[in-house]
Amino acid sequence: MATFALSEPVFLVLLSLAEEPRHGYSILKDVESISGGRVQLSTGTLYGALQRLLDQGWIERIEEDAAPRDRRTYKLTSLGRKNLQMEIVRMRDLTKLAGLRTARKEA
């Protein structure tokens, strides 16, 4: 169950990590890419979201002894993946309903 509202940046960060574990800069680039350049996160926004997601247990850090501090990698936990899937289902239902309603209006 989602314990805080999923904003678009948080959703995109989760979506980015759903594919593979990534480090901070890679998440920034991927979010920009999957949103078609529409969403460009600042580092403040990104790390605010990452901290909340870490606190909630939706993502976790991959501890690597050899990795420098600026290349710490984050990955989605099973809880995070489950919540992301729930959000996707909710959005799918919403778009389906939106499609039906707009089609009915046009007819």
Binding site: M1, L28, L41, S42, T43, T45, G48, D70
Partner: protein
């Protein structure tokens, strides 16, 4: 820009800086290096976005540390649990109603003074107390509402929705 970024980073709580500070700075430098050959307008937008993001992030981190409240700046709704939300419009309406009641009481008192004294001159109502009373009342109401919501949250009411009292269907 780098030194300004470092200075703004000091606005974050020390715990946060220790955990993410160095990492944030490195990511920022990578992003800045990538835009070094971009047009001036794009670079200016990038700088403005970074500074704004850093500033709002610092404020949110400080408030989270002080009050333990997540998404403090996102005041669209007071989220208690997904099924129970306290709309901001209700708080606003409550404040307006209370201010109206205080105003009505104050005006009524002014009328009593005129009638009892049988004076013909107009009694001024633009004294400082007239403005301080509603303002104080509004602040008191906002504080009381926040207190109730905080108390409800402390009771763990919002965790009830996670409790499952029936077996999962397969």
């Amino acid at each position: 820009m780098r030194s300004l970024y470092q200075r703004l980073l000091r606005l974050y709580p020390a715990v946060y800086r220790q955990e993410f500070g160095e990492e944030m700075q490195c990511v920022f430098l990578q992003a800045q290096a990538e835009r070094s050959i971009a047009p001036l307008m794009k670079r200016a937008k990038f700088c403005a976005r970074e500074l704004m993001g850093l500033f709002s992030g610092a404020v949110q981190a400080q408030l989270r540390l002080l009050f333990g409240v997540d998404d403090w700046l996102r005041l669209r709704r007071f989220n208690m649990r997904p099924e129970f939300r306290f709309p901001r419009s209700t708080v606003f309406l409550m404040c307006v109603i209370l201010a109206a009641v205080v105003l009505a009481i104050h005006k009524a008192k002014s009328v009593v003074v005129i009638n009892e004294g049988l004076r013909s001159e107009t009694v001024t109502i633009w004294d400082p107390l007239f403005w301080l009373c509603p303002l104080g009342a509004v602040l008191a109401v906002v504080g009381a509402v926040w207190g109730i919501l905080f108390a409800l949250r402390r009771t763990g009411l919002h965790r009830l929705d996670r409790a499952q009292t029936w077996p999962e269907q397969k």
